[in-house]
């Protein structure tokens, strides 16, 4: 059983943060909210999303599992105007999702969850540095790096105590330093890793500019990017494997 009403913005934010990595996903319809975990086919980027029942206007579920084609669902959600509500209801008989937006009814065929790539186990990483910054600073860093290169280094200078972003291109460089004063919080630790901008650009698209973003970093280790949406009732954690520079 699943029946829920949610604002178009919240639904779209949730879907967008998944669809940057995968085309299809499994959605767990838990009693206390939705949960989605997915990893891209290369096993480089991972997303772990939860959207609490309190983020919905109304929400009823009892632990079902459905598989969806994300671009279809996003297309439907995009039919809603700002401020409109989307009603979702699972038809257990036909295994289809009934979607209603202000009188517009759409019946979405679901995908057999068993045919969707297995959900990842979230690796338990010991990441020594933690940086908390505003979404718009992430955005700015990624945008600047993309002008000169296809990859970006994120790190923490332990001595001087600042978080930095480096991008080295063919001829040009980008360097950005954010000290504790520019950041919301900084826990210094040994951290320097290189990441593909292709992935980071996509993940960045899902990060609201006015949200708080927490980065967990290590040395040649994956980055964990955490942020909230839907007034804190939705949580997204991305994990991205680094490009290895040393061996």
């Amino acid at each position: 059983m699943f029946k829920a009403i949610v604002s178009a913005e919240t639904l779209t934010s949730a879907l967008d943060s998944i669809s940057v990595l995968v085309d299809e996903c499994k959605i767990h319809l838990e009693e206390d909210g939705l949960e989605i975990r997915a990893v891209d086919p290369a096993n480089v980027g991972m997303v772990d999303l939860s959207l609490d029942a309190s983020a919905f206007e109304s929400y009823e579920a009892d632990g079902g599992l459905i598989g969806v084609d994300l671009s279809r669902l996003e297309d439907i959600a995009s039919m809603a105007e700002s401020g409109q509500l989307v009603q979702l209801e699972l038809d257990e008989e036909t295994r289809k999702l009934q979607i209603q937006i202000e009188g517009l009814e759409y019946t979405l065929a679901l995908i057999d969850p068993d045919s969707i790539r297995q959900e990842p186990d979230i690796p338990d990483l010991d990441l020594p540095a933690e940086v908390v910054l505003e979404g718009k600073d992430v955005n700015r860093s990624v945008k600047a790096a993309d002008m000169v290169s296809d990859h970006i280094a994120l790190g923490v200078d332990e001595g001087e105590e600042y978080f930095y972003v480096d991008a080295e291109g063919d001829t040009d460089d980008v360097h950005l330093e954010l000290t504790e004063a520019d950041l919301i919080d900084l826990q210094v630790g040994p951290a320097h890793s290189l990441f593909s901008l292709d992935y980071l650009k996509d993940m960045n698209k899902a990060i609201p500019s006015d949200t708080e973003v927490t980065l967990h970093l290590g040395e040649e280790f994956p980055v964990k990017i955490y942020f909230g949406f839907a007034e804190g009732q939705g949580q997204v954690t991305y994990m991205l494997a680094p490009r290895i520079q040393s061996d």
């Binding site: 990893v39 891209d40 086919p41 290369a42 096993n43 480089v44 980027g45 991972m46 990842p120 186990d121 690796p123 338990d124 990483l125 296809d150 990859h151 080295e168 291109g169 063919d170 001829t171 290189l194 593909s196 292709d198 280790f221 994956p222 994990m239 494997a241 680094p242 490009r243 290895i244 520079q245 040393s246 061996d247």
Partner: protein, 433 residues
Amino acid sequence: MRLDDYIEELEPDEEAQRRRLAKEKSYEITDHLEEFERNFERALSGDSLVGSTAPSIFVGRSNYPDIPVGVLSPVGDENAAEEYVTDGNWYQEGYDIPDVLQRRTGLLNSNKRANVDSPSIASRLTPNVHDAWDGFVGVQREVAIADRPVDLEIGLDDTPDLGLDAGTDVATPRGPRANARNAELRENPYVPKPIKKTLEDDDWQAQGAMTYLYRRGFDVYDINSILSAGALGETDQRRLVPTRWSITAVDDTVGQFLRGRIRNAPSIDEVQVWANEYMGNRYWVILAPGNWEFELVEMKAPGSIWNPDPEGDTWMASASEGYDGRSSYVEETAGAYYAARLAALEHLESIGRQAKCLVLREVSDDYWAPVGVWQVRESVRNAFEDTYGEAETFHDAVREVATQLPISHARLRRKSELAAGLQSNLSAFSARE
């Protein structure tokens, strides 16, 4: 073999020969063109070329979609027509640049303008002889799908332009061209069965049909010619494709097919460096364990083609893709990227492995005339023929190979996505628990 020993054994002993070639290059071509002119006079009967034979076709791209469509025929050397077809055999025969230019300039391109969506495409194998326009395109398509050179009679509109602008610095000395009025088959060409199948199935998407032909043993050169003539794909999608575009389309399509085949294959388990040198181009192919990732980095010496200033800096270009391929068009390295990628994927598919693959192409000033992208394809294909050098890690291999390159390791790292860092995957970190 250890990488440093491997590199030592590669020391070129052909230095002297290369210098000689560079010196003699332009004279050979000029002599050749004069000979061609004499042959041509002999073969011309009235305004028709009789007893001609055409091994291949050429579809130009100027003024698209009304493009020049040509049949290529060696004039005065009909018995050796097969040798004029660009394919892997040129590498096997050890053709050098003058050999290639002689074949290229020895082919008369009798061409006629046609619209890419020309109605003769729809009427397929029945060239309408009452309509000279359709008829010419029809004959041209027969040449493209036949498995050997086809005897023809070509009616010319004017005297050929012998293309004596050869030997300029940048342009490929092109062959002579003539405007054709019509063309007629002098024999019934033999069309191999799989090609008939793709030709007759008008509901088969071009990509699938190309892959089918490749799997049936047709090389990309054959498939290219068929695609170019608009002789495969869904009927309403069939059109003439300029040769230059179709070469890349075929390399890309077949490459995607091969990439799919190794997608779930186990990785190679050591770092290997393969090398090859051909026509003033030196190739290094570094394979490393991990998921598929590919990059071509080109370094063009000052004074070489496309970088003519002898006092200038080495010119660099690169393009790369990850496990899932590219989402955007290759802006740098163009057709060479897809040709090199195809060759690397063929090797990996043949051993049933995947790998990270960095191809470094160094173009020396001995490469004085562009011979076409086949040279890249065949050089990389054949790089895997002999032995390889082993290195401890990918970055060790890059460092060591960099000592042989005209650029510094630092500059390579700035230009090359793979040299800067290899993409890891998340499972590598879960395993460290």
